[in-house]
Point group: C2
Chain length 249, copies 2
């Protein structure tokens, strides 16, 4: 101890991020999914061989892990710390160039609800954070610290708060969305919430895409439990207030 240099060598991480294909890969994996090499290759517009080389660079840099499954190899982010760091870097990075694509519809969907590695994000994530700050369950405005009443309330609603508190990761963490400017809940508790939403069937992963669909059950649950209503996806733009919260302390 004390013998290690205090400075960090950004070279390796930098190299890993420094090419368009790898940047695309990371963006795709940033929602916490595992994806086979071929799918990543197609998404980035490069040959399988090229993608393979890129992926091994990411693995060597420790950003991504590889898990063999049958004749597929699934790649995923190496852990929450990678997601956290990339998310912080996103502050500096420019929005990715918009490829032709039917982006608009896609983007709207993502804006509404998605996973940010292991926790809920998009309008849904923000609405939850707002609601819980409103009831005094989370404190610190931009920082989202769990209060005692919050621990009780969330536990009562069926979230595994004890586990989250005991975890090695920070219990709560505020994750600032790049496009919206409001924080949503990350950290061990954020992950627990996300897990529960999936297990309970309140949200389901959109088939063949990133992004989540809020189910009937989920919609009802949000309204009844916390008076949260998300703007309908069918409606046009709803930029100013993406979600409305009834109970505001």
């Amino acid at each position: 101890m004390g013998l290690v240099s205090r400075d960090r060598d950004f070279t390796a991480v930098g190299r890993a991020l420094a090419t368009p294909a790898r940047s695309v890969f990371l963006n795709l994996l940033l929602d916490g999914t595992r994806r086979p090499a071929g799918e990543l290759a197609r998404a980035a517009g490069v040959r399988a061989s090229t993608a393979s080389e890129h992926l091994s660079v990411l693995v060597d840099a420790g950003l991504v892990t590889c898990e063999a499954h049958g004749r597929h190899r699934y790649y995923a982010l190496a852990g929450p710390h990678v997601a956290t760091a990339l998310e912080a870097l996103g502050t500096l990075a420019a929005p990715a160039p918009v490829v032709g694509y039917r982006l608009s519809r896609h983007a709207q969907h993502l804006a509404r609800a998605r996973f940010c590695y292991d926790h809920l994000a998009g309008h849904l994530g923000i609405a939850l954070a707002d609601a819980w700050v409103g009831r005094g369950w989370l404190a610190g405005r931009e920082v989202l610290v769990l209060t005692d009443s919050g621990a009780d309330g969330l536990q009562a609603t069926g979230f595994d708060v004890d586990d989250a508190v005991a975890a090695r990761r920070p219990t709560t963490r505020a994750c600032l969305d790049w496009t919206e400017r409001r924080p949503h809940l990350a950290g061990a508790l954020g992950a627990a919430v996300g897990r529960r939403f999936l297990e309970a069937g309140w949200v389901v992963r959109h088939r063949s895409g990133r992004g989540l669909d809020l189910t009937e059950a989920g919609t009802a649950m949000l309204r009844e439990a916390w008076g949260v209503t998300l703007a309908e996806p069918a409606s046009d733009d709803a930029p100013a207030t993406p979600a409305r919260v009834a109970s505001r302390a």
Copy 2:
């Protein structure tokens, strides 16, 4: 709004970090100082011409700003957001390779007290955070949220809390040291504290180096105000408890 891609292009930032020389530059600037091109060149072990090219890359990437002063050009980090992002990336990056140097002495000095862009870090920063958490001035263990009593207490001690709260930046932010594993106070309030420590002469920048020296006045002030004592720099290693806090609630 809504039209921008949700993904980020990490390519540019990645490229900017991807070379040893630029990594050294950023590490040097990470303490918030501005330094002339020549000094940076010497530190990185490259010719002035090479350094100049590197620096223009960093400027183009928006990580660094350049300010002409006489026949010198001073380079500095482009803002707190850059420091924050790099600090987050440090989680992923390996410790920088140790160059020959008389590193040990140097590193010890840095470990004791230094600036982390605009706020106090090192054992000093950690000791302050510990002390203030102990008195209930900061809440949230790993997160460091300012409490009401904390606002009163710090204001009474002469820190400009009102300004910090009014600032556009988050009032408090926990900055996790890479080598130590404990957080210290960053954000607008952290910057206000750092500023005051310099102005009051409690710390002075170490000549020709990074790192801070705690003055007699600073030592006395720490002890009297919060019962904080930093281990003497003359002593050998003091790894386990870098600082001791008297009053623990």
